[in-house]
């Protein structure tokens, strides 16, 4: 039995035979319809590496500059994401502060770094140190990076604040918007199945 010609659906356990796909095609389980595998373009690795590197840079910009500023009766205030986490912490909302810090800064940053790490070690053709744990990590934390939800939350608070004060969108607001799209594009082009196969071939 050739194990590579078979694939198992992770949602209904059905054994499916692998068939060749056209480029960009996706195979779904014949019984429950969930995603099985896809055939990404030959340059998918390089493309996702470029996107992930760009996202890393934007992540820095988005965290250094203020998200928005507020002017109430001549008094101005502005906040970066880290300031916002700190004010939650100072307000003794430790759990909420930790949750926000993890889902908007730590997980997205760690996930992007892990993707860059894996793709660079594949490019160098070396079974780089730690590529396997990095791929495990990416799979585990996938659901906990919530930049896109955060961007929507910022927009909602912007609308709420315009009723009581003059609001100025900051540079980080646009950076987070762009970061959201880059993260989505990275996730769409990064092919973990291919990374696993290539790592195995390098062994």
């Amino acid at each position: 039995m050739s194990a590579s010609a078979l694939t198992v659906c992770l949602e209904c356990d059905l054994l499916n035979r692998q068939v060749p796909l056209p480029q960009g095609g996706e195979a779904r389980c014949s019984r429950c319809g969930s995603h099985l595998y896809r055939r990404s373009s030959p340059d998918a690795n390089d493309r996702s590496l470029a996107l992930a590197l760009a996202a890393c840079m934007l992540l820095v910009v988005a965290n250094v500059f203020p998200i928005m500023g507020l002017e109430v009766q001549g008094v101005r205030s502005s906040t970066t994401l880290l300031d916002a986490v700190r004010s939650l912490w100072n307000d003794k909302a430790y759990g909420v502060a930790a949750l926000v810090f993890l889902t908007t800064i730590i997980v997205p940053a760690a996930e992007l770094i892990a993707i860059v790490w894996v793709l660079i070690s594949l490019r160098r053709g070396a079974r780089g140190q730690g590529a396997v744990p990095m791929l495990h990590f990416i799979e585990r934390v996938k659901a906990w990076g919530m930049v896109e939800v955060f961007v929507l939350g910022v927009l909602v608070s912007l609308v709420k604040l315009t009723h009581i004060a003059i609001v100025e969108p900051g540079l980080a607001l646009f950076s987070f918007g762009a970061l959201m799209m880059l993260i989505a594009a990275t996730a769409a082009s990064f092919d973990a199945d291919r990374a696993w196969t290539q790592l195995e071939e390098l062994r």
Partner: protein
């Protein structure tokens, strides 16, 4: 219905991380993925018990999450407390209908639907139901991916607290409801992660 070829039926195990299919070891031995090294399980361990535990915990916290204030605004005119629902009402009465609908959907509809749907799925497996397995699997996929959007209100509170604190006019502080609400979101995400949709299909395979 003829028995469909499943990995379990053929003595195979699929890795949940790297998807490699390997032969299951003799009973009593721990299985590890030959490619990526993680421990392999035919089904998620104690799936139903864990799902129910997280679900019940989130149901208990659901009441404080919705009835306690998620933020307190104090100004010259007194103190005002906002719950999730009053935040939606504020957006609605101030004319931002689209945002009001969005926040209502993300903060109220999604957690509620998620808890009910997961309870129905877990109960359907326990009652050995055979109806619409494909639809139930699709439902599971949908609620597992939609749960994250409930974090919306937590982020709104984060920004409001940070910006309206030093101002002389008003100051906004986090209310006790925010922690409960965050916990509901996290617990329902854990509940969804614990449920194993393959259990839905196992019952069909056992039929004579």
């Amino acid at each position: 219905m003829s028995t469909a070829p499943t990995a379990v039926g053929l003595g195979l195990l699929a890795c949940e991380v790297c998807r490699l299919v390997s032969r299951a070891p003799p009973p009593g031995n721990d299985a590890h993925c030959p490619r990526c090294g993680v421990t392999l399980h035919a089904r998620k361990p104690a799936s139903l018990a864990r799902t129910w535990a997280f679900l019940i915990a989130s149901m208990i916290l659901y009441a404080p999450a919705n009835f306690l204030p998620i933020m307190d605004t104090s100004s010259l005119f007194g103190t005002q407390s906002d719950t999730i629902l009053s935040g939606v009402a504020f957006l609605w009465t101030s004319g931002s209908w689209v945002l009001a609908a969005l926040v209502f959907f993300a903060s109220i509809m999604v957690p509620l639907t998620k808890v009910i749907a997961l309870a129905v799925l877990a109960a359907s497996v326990q009652m050995r139901a055979t109806w619409h397995p494909r639809t139930r699997t699709r439902l599971y996929r949908l609620i597992a991916s939609a749960g994250r959007w409930s974090m919306l209100d937590i982020y709104v509170v984060t920004i409001l607290v940070a910006l309206v604190q030093i101002s002389t006019l008003a100051s906004i502080h986090v209310g006790p409801g925010a922690a409960a609400f965050g916990a509901v979101v996290v617990l329902t995400m854990f509940a969804a992660e614990s449920f194993d949709p393959r259990l839905i299909w196992d019952i069909l395979g056992e039929e004579p």
